[in-house]
């Protein structure tokens, strides 16, 4: 007989000027997996911060009832003591410490102040076995991949006798295989009586693993759907999140495809540190004016590496091959040369590679084409503001003005600033690397609309994405990439997830 392990009653959290949460109610039964869905900014993270004590008792209204007791957590350590552990999207591991040291960080296995290393490593290997991670506990965390690091985080949570595990976007940075393993593990832990709350944008994962889904919109709980009883479609969940029906997740477009704009021939790239490793292997591809071309590939297939090496050789060593723009060979050995030849590349990692987060919107937008605003080496700041304001309006960037810092914007709005930056550089070819990663459904639709508009203006567009439905929804043609080789060039009429996946996993003959 299931009984309630956690109940959050009428939680209201106010920041100066904003009500982030308003009378949120939430119930989780022992041993179930609850998914929380909502657009970015809906209040999911705030709610989890209230639950885990990041916002201590007294800074919010309402009650948290955990195991039939009203809790008043004063901080993370306090909530962890009760068995509530949160794993954040950005992993909190120390890269140069070993797996075992990380697992017991802050909870060291010590006798009389001295660390008992045998016990530390022994206990760690037991925990690693529980999460299904086959690694030596003395391996430094920096030497294992993100997927395995995620498992170390869970092992760390298990070491604290976790009863309620909260995972914030656990698979956002994982490839399909690691994601599948993680989801299996969560199901497995459910069998051991561990309750989980998962925040995720990936609706197919939610459908696969969660028992119930609670939808939050504008700081309020909208509804809780029971996935075990009813047949709930992804569209049904999206409708709850955005508060309206999305007739289609992808806007319609009638392609008007012109001449070839960019052609890449025999493109080979080696790893920058290990020059014997071939990352991109004799790739051939082309893209025409007004065409949206997708690149599909699993994590590690070399998608980003291919794109960045084309974009002014910003990745890789020992690059060979030829680039043709409008039929003539071009030289793009630096990012500057690539931009001058009309190429643009919007990175998959906005925060690390795309934006200057401590700078405002207008200076980010002008960054790649400052020369267009300058006379004699000096920038016309007035015109810069006017240009940025035009983009703020046409791209629907939600900010009071263009002096707002980009670091304070939501993911979707940050992405619109990145796109504005590259649109202002007036490219002929736009390479968009995971343009909708970490962006909520409503903003995704806006980004797709922008991509369509750019294509209709005659730009050639290459989209790299991990989400096959997205590529199938917006592309005219899809290249598949496997182990650095282009394995197929699939017209959209012949493409479906099964066909693409077959080519994406095609191994070397």
């Amino acid at each position: 007989m299931a009984h309630t392990i956690l109940e959050m009653r009428d939680i209201t959290k106010t920041f100066p000027g904003v009500k982030a949460l308003q009378n949120v109610n939430l119930q989780v039964q022992r041993g179930e997996v609850l998914a929380i869905c909502g657009e970015n900014g809906a209040g999911k993270s705030t709610l989890m911060k209230v639950l885990s004590g990041v916002y201590p008792h007294g800074t919010y209204e309402g009650d948290i009832v955990f195991e039939n007791e009203v809790m008043s957590f004063s901080g993370i350590r306090d909530s962890e003591k009760s068995g509530v552990v949160i794993i954040h999207q950005e992993l909190a591991l120390s890269p140069y410490l070993s797996i075992a040291e990380n697992i017991f960080l802050g909870n060291e296995q010590a006798t009389r102040g001295f660390i008992d290393w045998d016990k530390t490593n022994l206990e760690a290997s037991k925990l690693l076995a529980r999460v299904g991670l086959k690694e030596n506990p003395i391996t430094p965390v920096s030497q294992i991949g993100v997927g395995k690091q995620q498992l170390v985080e869970i092992a760390k949570a298990l070491s604290k006798d976790v009863k309620l595990l909260i995972l914030d976007e656990p698979t956002a940075a994982l490839n399909d295989e690691d994601s599948a393993h993680l989801l299996d593990l969560i199901s497995h832990l459910r069998g051991q009586g561990i309750t989980s709350i998962i925040i995720s944008h990936k609706l197919n994962e939610i459908k696969a693993i969660a028992d119930k889904v609670t939808i939050i919109r504008d700081g309020r709980t909208i509804e809780t759907l029971d996935l075990r009883k009813d047949d709930i479609s992804e569209e049904r969940i999206i409708k709850g999140m955005v508060g309206r029906d999305l007739e289609s997740r992808y806007p319609d477009r009638t392609p008007a495809i012109g001449e070839e704009v960019l052609r890449v021939e025999d493109w080979t790239v080696h790893h920058p540190e290990d020059s014997s490793r071939v990352v991109v292997d004799a790739a051939n591809l082309n893209v025409r004016a007004g065409e949206v071309v997708g690149i599909a590939g699993l994590m590690g297939a070399g998608r980003t590496e291919l794109a960045m090496s084309i974009f002014g050789r910003s990745y890789g060593k020992g690059i060979t091959g030829k680039l043709y723009k409008n039929g003539t060979e071009i030289r793009a050995h630096s990012v500057k040369e690539a931009i001058d030849h009309g190429l643009a590349y919007a990175t998959e990692d906005r925060k690390q590679y795309g934006l200057n987060l401590i700078e405002d919107i207008k200076r980010n937008i002008s960054m790649a084409a400052l020369g267009k605003l300058a006379k004699g080496g000096f920038v016309d700041a007035g015109r810069e503001t006017v240009v940025a304001n035009d983009y703020r309006k046409s791209m629907n960037i939600k900010a009071p003005n263009v002096e707002a810092l980009t670091g304070k914007l939501s993911g979707g709005n940050q992405q619109k600033v990145v796109l504005s930056k590259w649109m202002f550089s007036d490219p002929d070819v736009l390479i968009l690397d995971e343009p909708t990663r970490g962006i909520d459904v409503g903003a995704k639709y806006e980004i797709y609309t922008i991509i369509n508009k750019l294509a209709s203006e005659g730009k050639a567009i290459i989209v790299i994405s991990s989400e096959l439905p997205e590529l199938l929804g917006i592309c005219d043609r899809i290249y598949t990439l496997s182990e650095g080789r282009i394995t197929a060039d699939v017209p959209i009429a012949e493409a479906n997830p099964e066909v693409l996946m077959q080519y994406m996993t095609k191994e070397k003959d």
Partner: protein, 394 residues
């Protein structure tokens, strides 16, 4: 009601920007009272300007380096080296004074290029490169000087550090006010007002002006008033120090470079996020290289001013200059992690240190207590900045 609230909000947002200037004014007022009016005596104001000029020159280059996310520990040694080299050029090589000044600046540029090469193209952290430079150029200074001081320097050379603009045209005795200085002050005020009015007109034309007219007028009257007040004080003593003119030109030029030039924007972009800058087509290595060349030239200029003022080049010259310049930049609001800072902030920070030094000396406070207090001011200024940022972030 709404308009009053808007006005208050506007003032609050501006006060954050001008907090550092208010701090300088408060400190000046404080010492004016504590020293019984000695601080703002014409002779003392001239003294503060001349005494701090070389630190302020260094602070301009330093804040740019810090904005780019680097640091330069070698500027004191470089200043000493350039001073010594210029002495050698004059006394041993028989160069004329102007050639020694030009030669000194070239030496500074070469030193900067040397350090820029290691930082930008080899990829060694600036902290290490300039720590090595600090030792290298201190050692070279002593080798060049052979353990001796070079003194005296030609009168013309010394003007850079201690001279005044056209003193012989209007000897101080002939009039209570020195008219060249008054003229320069009025010209500077007119230039400032006309530049501000034109900039505002440009913004209004583009429909961007959000600054209330009243605030604009207050700002103009205030800035103009300060320039005229300093003019009056300088004119009552011996006139305009040449180094003040040099400094004024540097401040105007470098403010424009950092605010409005493509190069300046690249420096901010590089310091804010190096990867994003690279992927936006900015040649980060080139930016770094020229920043250090620029710092070398400014360190050379500081060395020439200092040597001229002391009328000697010694092996210990410029000791700890780097720390004063770094402190000026940070007190002036530069961020340790790069990407944030202004030239005018660094100058204000340098003046705060300078007024503190001067005021405490006038009061007869010993150098031990002075160092203690300056250390405290640096710590508190940066702590305030950190606290302020955290509060704004919410």
């Amino acid at each position: 009601m709404a308009t009053i609230k808007d006005g208050v909000d506007f003032l609050a947002s501006r006060l954050r920007q001008i907090g550092i200037f208010l701090a300088l004014i408060v400190i000046i007022a404080l010492f004016q009272v504590l020293t019984g009016g000695s601080l703002l005596q014409p002779a003392n104001v001239t003294n503060i300007v001349v005494q701090n000029s070389y630190i302020l020159i260094l602070a301009i280059g330093m804040v740019m380096i810090i904005i780019a996310g680097h640091i330069d520990l070698s500027v004191g040694s470089v200043a000493a080296f350039v001073g010594a080299m210029s002495g050698v050029m004059i006394t041993q090589w028989g160069w004329p004074w102007w050639a020694a000044i030009v030669g000194g600046l070239v030496v500074g540029a070469l030193v900067g290029a040397w350090q820029g090469f290691w930082v930008a193209y080899v990829g060694i952290p600036a902290f290490i490169v300039t720590l090595a430079g600090m030792l290298l150029f201190r050692g070279l200074t002593q080798m060049v000087l052979g353990g001796q001081q070079i003194t005296p320097f030609p009168t013309e050379y010394r003007q850079l550090g201690g001279g005044f603009v056209f003193p012989e045209l209007f000897p101080a005795a002939s009039s209570p006010l020195e008219w060249i200085t008054v003229g320069l002050g009025v010209i500077a005020t007119v230039l400032l007002v006309s530049q501000q009015v034109r900039a505002r007109a440009h913004r209004v034309k583009l429909g961007l002006e959000d600054e209330p007219m009243a605030w604009f007028l207050i700002k103009l009257v205030f800035l103009g008033g300060i320039i005229l007040a300093i003019t009056f004080l300088l004119a009552s003593f011996r006139g305009t120090p040449i180094v003040l003119v040099v400094l004024g030109v540097l401040i105007v030029v470098y403010t424009a470079v950092m605010n409005r030039s493509v190069f300046g924007r690249h420096v901010y972009a590089r310091g804010g996020n190096q990867h994003a800058a690279e992927l936006s087509g900015i040649n980060v290595k080139k930016v770094d290289f020229y920043l250090f060349v620029n710092m070398g030239v400014l360190a050379a200029l500081a060395g020439l001013v200092f040597t001229g003022r002391l009328n000697s080049a010694g092996p210990g010259a410029g000791n700890l200059f780097e720390l004063d310049a770094i402190a000026a930049a940070f007190i002036g609001g530069a961020a340790v992690s790069g990407g944030i800072g202004t030239v005018i902030g660094a100058i204000t920070g340098g003046l705060i240190m300078g007024v503190l030094n001067n005021g405490m000396s006038l009061m007869g406070i010993g150098t031990d207590a002075q160092q203690f207090i300056k250390g405290l001011v640096l710590l508190l200024a940066v702590a305030f900045d950190v606290w302020n940022k955290r509060r704004n972030r919410g």
